[in-house]
Subunit: 176 residues, 2 copies
Amino acid sequence: MRVMGVDPGLTRCGVGAVEGRPGAPLQLVAVGVVRTGADEELGTRLVGIEAGIEQWLDDVRPDAVAVERVFSQHNVRTVMGTAQAAGIAVLCATRRGLPVALHTPSEVKAAITGSGTADKKQIGAMVTRLLRLTEMPKPADAADALALAICHVWRGGAQHRLAEALARATRKDARS
Amino acid sequence: MRVMGVDPGLTRCGVGAVEGRPGAPLQLVAVGVVRTGADEELGTRLVGIEAGIEQWLDDVRPDAVAVERVFSQHNVRTVMGTAQAAGIAVLCATRRGLPVALHTPSEVKAAITGSGTADKKQIGAMVTRLLRLTEMPKPADAADALALAICHVWRGGAQHRLAEALARATRKDARS
């Protein structure tokens, strides 16, 4: 399964894709950042984010897209732009019929490091180790996008195994 | 000048267009609401908002679009969806090369009623009077979208007159 993660932001929108399935080594597909200028008008920036995400979807061709769920407790000064960038990522993926999942920052941290309160450095270190990279992806937004994608592969896998277990239990019930 | 106002929201996105210029009677062009289902997934809702706004832009063909500026002090439960709907309206207008203005709720209230703290009913009453309608546009989101459009016609006019006055003053300076 190929998952593209998006760590939304107007100035730096992290994008990272991995290929993998639960219980097997993960592969890095690509990682980078979509940037827009802080001095540009909001509309120009949103059009830039849309074009950047579309280009990434064309290049990476993911099976699913994972976007960070934005809360109003985030940095108040930038939260509206962050929410709007996230909305555009969700819009672009849905227009292509791709499944979209929203994961909270603490879900991602817990999935990658075992702790829902891990810091950026710890996330970066685990992403580097899990993908067997020679150095930490930079900036932090790029590493966070990979963490989202990895979280989705693993959570998706857990949900898949749960669904399988339920299906097996139901078949057993039907036979007994 | 034809202005389309957008009062953003995921469940009800108010849209209203007026034709006018400062100092002349305003004309209603069209008013309504783009709705999406509260039980639909976020992506489906955002695609629905985009399709609705595009249809309105096709039908109304405005010269400018005015969108309510969303603050994080808004209703916390819905503010992220409101910000995302606003972002999509700004995106759609900018893709067409239309000028986009963001006005705060208090700027709109002050422009329409003279008071930045006017309530919904007062806004609705003034929109009804200014457009010489026989009844108040409903729901409130539709009336608010018209108020945004009217605010933009008047503020745009004031800014235009200010720019003209500055240009005259500059010419005078240049002559003296």
